[in-house]
């Protein structure tokens, strides 16, 4: 078992970086699961080999009760990149200029981690 195996672990790590760990949350679970789903789509576009052999794209239902135990099948080396994407995408909706920069940096980091060694 490695870190970031399940949807719940992704949400937990994303909330830690967002400093949003106390209920009621500023960023709802639904939004973060949506960001996870979109991040997986981006990863499929950039790195098809991560979805070998069948190229199936997992989808996690963001509405209703979130299945936090659902497994996210992603190579361990590239799981942190997905967390950065979730956090960056969540912060895109904030309109403070400082948050915009942070969101942009996190989304860029996601892309760089998928495409380059030094990132």
């Amino acid at each position: 078992m490695a870190a970031l195996d399940t949807v719940g672990q992704y949400l937990e790590e994303a909330r830690r970086l967002l400093q949003d760990e106390i209920d009621p949350y500023r960023y709802p679970d639904d939004d973060l699961v949506d960001a996870l789903n979109i991040g997986i789509l981006e990863a499929r576009r950039l790195r098809a080999d991560l979805f070998l052999p069948l190229f199936e794209i997992p989808y996690f239902t963001p509405t209703g009760t979130i299945d936090t135990d659902a497994m996210v099948t992603m190579d361990p080396m590239y799981r942190p990149a997905l967390v950065y994407y979730i956090v960056g995408r969540a912060q895109l909706r904030d309109d403070e200029s400082t948050t915009d920069q942070r969101a942009g940096a996190l989304l860029t980091k996601f892309t760089q981690q998928l495409l380059t060694i030094a990132s």
Binding site: L46, R47, D49, L50, L52, P53, D75, M77, L114, L115, T116, I117
Partner: protein
């Protein structure tokens, strides 16, 4: 955790190609092995095929996880058979056959004569063979009761089968001696393919070119080596220049 013969290759690749995933490695190593075997005929396999009277097509088995690339030769009762081109007749595309040597037509001085009408390429005599589809051999002229006393000995070149990729064992059922023998060649081939990929963390066109060149040279060498039977200093057979 169990050891697999591919461990050395996979471990070396993981160190040389940072960020590569296991399924990606498996796919490219498989592609390299397949190309390697198809070009070099380095995986040879010999099997016997029992003949039946009045039957012209026979299936033959290959080892698990392997498929036929080409037939290298077929022998029947110690006699090499002539391959027939697809769609041709028994003697199509074959030149310089002299026919059957008849004792009654051999002169005392040793000068022989031949009866072209009784050619060894005629369907009624020694038959020819063809491969029209994998794992099936066709012979021209149905064998008679005398011919079925001896099996066909087929020598073929194999490659890894595509079903291997569906196996999650991390191993292909190749003969064990191949892994150390071809390690460097497969390593160069895999590195060339991986470094040559666009938009990957490990992409490196310079290294891809270098390893690809080494891989191509290795395949040329292995092709010659397989033909000569892995013996040092054996010259390839060549038609005599004076003929």
């Amino acid at each position: 955790m169990t050891c697999a013969p591919t461990d050395r290759l996979m471990q070396t690749l993981k160190v040389h190609v940072p960020g590569v995933t296991d399924p990606m490695l498996q796919l490219e190593v498989f592609n390299v092995m397949d190309e390697f075997f198809r070009r070099t005929s380095a995986w040879r396999y010999r099997t016997g095929i029992d003949l039946e009277v009045n039957t012209t097509e026979y299936s033959f088995a290959t080892p698990p996880d392997a498929e036929v690339v080409r037939m290298m030769g077929v022998v029947h009762n110690g006699q090499p058979l002539v391959a027939r081109a697809a769609g041709g007749t028994a003697s199509s595309y074959v030149q310089s056959s002299l026919g059957e040597l008849l004792p009654e037509q051999t002169f005392p001085d040793g000068d022989a004569t031949y009866l072209p009408a009784v050619s060894d390429l005629q369907p009624t005599g020694m038959f020819t063979y063809a491969i029209y589809r994998p794992n099936y051999i066709s012979v021209a002229g149905a064998p008679d009761a005398e011919a079925v006393k001896y099996p066909l000995e087929a020598d073929m070149a194999l490659t890894v089968a595509q079903t291997c990729l569906e196996c999650d064992c991390g191993d292909w059922l190749l003969p064990d001696w191949m892994y150390p023998m071809f390690f460097q060649d497969w390593l160069d081939g895999s590195l060339a393919r991986l470094y040559g990929m666009p938009a990957k963390p490990w992409a490196n066109p310079t290294l891809a070119t270098m390893h690809h060149r080494k891989y191509r040279n290795a395949m040329a060498f292995r092709m010659q080596e397989a033909r000569r039977g892995y013996a040092y200093g054996v010259p390839g057979w060549r038609f005599p220049r004076s003929w």
